[in-house]
Amino acid sequence: MAITLDQTIAHKQQSWLGEKLSSQTFWVLIAVILACIFLSFATDSFATSKNLYNITRNVTFVAIIALGMTLVIITGGIDLSVGSVLCLCSMILGVVMHAGYSLEVGIAASVATALVIGACHGVLIAYIGMPPFVVTLATLSIARSLAMVASGNTVVFQFGPDHDKLLALGGGAWFFGIANPVFYMVVLALITGFILRWTRFGRYIYAIGGNEHAATLTGVPVRQIKVAVYMISSLSAGIAGIIQTGWLGAITTNIGAGLELQVIAAAVIGGAALAGGVGTALGAIVGAALIEIIRNSLGLLGINAFWQGCFIGGAILFAVLFDRIRKFRQSE
């Protein structure tokens, strides 16, 4: 039987399963699951509820920021400032609450700080045309310095009248024994996933990463979208800062130092392409999870912690290499 034009047009090239099997995120997820199974058998301490509680909670800070970072990376940009922004936002929260204001005021001040930083990034990058690497590298330095100025480079550990509320916010477990940070991470991941898949804003983020020039020509408000994306990235760092402050119960001016590299690693391991146009919310979470499981397992397996960097670096190379090899095979 001859195939008509309509049949050709209606034909779907890949099944749903085929699509999943061809994504890097899927294979990293498999790696995470296999690692968990292996560790459950290889060690007595991995599959204990206490350890799992610890892992899931540790994942969240990197994962939440990786969600925002993924959006930036999809547009083809990068945000190196997240570690310092996290520190500054934590410090603003701490200083404001220490001065006697309520938790709500502290959070508002902290979120506002994040949004202003993100907006500055966005304007400098999208309107002035400065490279994202340079702009956010500057903030990496500036934000941490401002945190030192705000606190006089001291440790803040007393948060005024709402002290207990803040600790409960970050350290509690209000829903079915799930640590609060984990709950926030899941909610934020669902929101991010929804935005990327179902909203016009999400579609435009991919379009900008795919071909910025084309997006401009077809009437996509490229500049506004970029500003929004950098604001979201800073906001995610701010939110992670607030939660982390509640969990730790103290803020020093060196929290979040070097965090940006872990976050970028998580996004990249999860399938985001630094060239832009590719990435998912699930990938950010899965990438963060893999990094944390590597760290956790090295400790449990009795391997010297100095080796951590090698394993994480190896995971980055392996995840991307794996993806390259699969694509070579497809194109042949």
């Binding site: 034009l5 309509d6 050709t8 047009i9 209606a10 034909h11 779907k12 090239q13 898949r197 179902w198 909203t199 016009r200 579609r203 991919y206 379009a207 990463g209 795919g210 071909n211 020039h213 084309a214 997006a215 020509l217 077809t218 009437g219 996509v220 146009g277 590719v278």
Partner: protein, 247 residues
């Protein structure tokens, strides 16, 4: 009555006179070939019609109403569609996503609206069928042939009731068989009563599909003739300057 009428249009960038006192008009269902060497002012002229630049002097009228364009979106609103030379496609998106880029179909209420994937796949499929192009709405553009990519770019112009379609070098970088496909797409647009402006370096394409040819040289219009009354030799002479000007 002319769909589009340009009167004494000029455009200069500082001291550079890119387009100098050009007038012409286009009828509905007419294919006009716009030819000229690099730097002759074709692109600048087209960018003014597309709303990228506003003219320094002169007026544009559409259906006898003066046309002032400040942004590409406004041109589109008036029924002027452009197929860009590089096609302006996002490789990482599906054909349907590219067709609807900037004009997504959404469903929902008020500000709570989500992308309507089903409707966009369906409509894109219909347009590809209309264009007689074997292009699948769900495929990524990355995996497509040159002809299919053209079809995606042209499909965009079919989303609204376009009156004029400007095509910038649509046959520059594709295979011979695909050129035939694209020329068919142009005839298809013409048959719908759409005016097509075809900017091209390729003489055979213009003589194959166009009704009229306009030649530009150094910012001026040097010829505006029916294809039947001209010849490739004459047009070549006009482009290079061997022939100064014809009526």
């Amino acid at each position: 009555m002319a769909v589009l009428e340009l009167t004494n249009i000029s455009k200069h960038f500082g001291a550079i006179q890119a387009v100098n006192d050009v007038s012409f008009s286009i009828e509905a269902g007419e294919v006009v070939g716009l030819m000229g060497d690099n730097g002759a002012g074709k692109s600048t002229l087209v960018k003014m019609i597309a709303g990228n630049f506003s003219p320094s002097h002169g007026t544009m009228r559409m259906d006898d109403v003066e046309l002032v364009l400040n942004k590409p979106v406004e041109a589109r609103r008036h029924g002027i569609e452009i197929v860009h030379q590089d096609l302006a496609l996002c490789d990482n998106l599906t054909a349907a996503a590219n067709v609807f880029l900037g004009r997504e179909i959404r469903r929902g209420v008020g500000p709570f609206r989500i992308l309507d994937y089903a409707a966009m796949y369906k409509r894109a499929g219909q347009i590809f069928a209309e264009l007689k192009s074997e292009t699948r709405p769900r495929d990524l553009v990355k995996q497509m042939s040159g002809g299919q990519r053209q079809a995606v770019a042209i499909a965009r112009t079919r989303l609204s009731e376009a009156k004029i379609v400007l095509m910038d070098e649509p046959t520059a970088a594709i295979s011979v068989r695909q050129v035939a496909e694209v020329l068919n797409l142009i005839r298809h647009l013409r048959d719908q009563g759409i005016a097509v402006v075809l900017i091209s370096h390729r003489m055979p394409d213009v003589f194959d599909v166009a009704d009229r040819v306009i030649v530009m040289r150094r910012g001026r219009k040097v010829a505006d003739k029916r294809i039947a009354a001209s010849s490739p030799e004459e047009v070549t002479g006009l482009i290079t300057g061997a022939i100064e000007q014809v009526a």
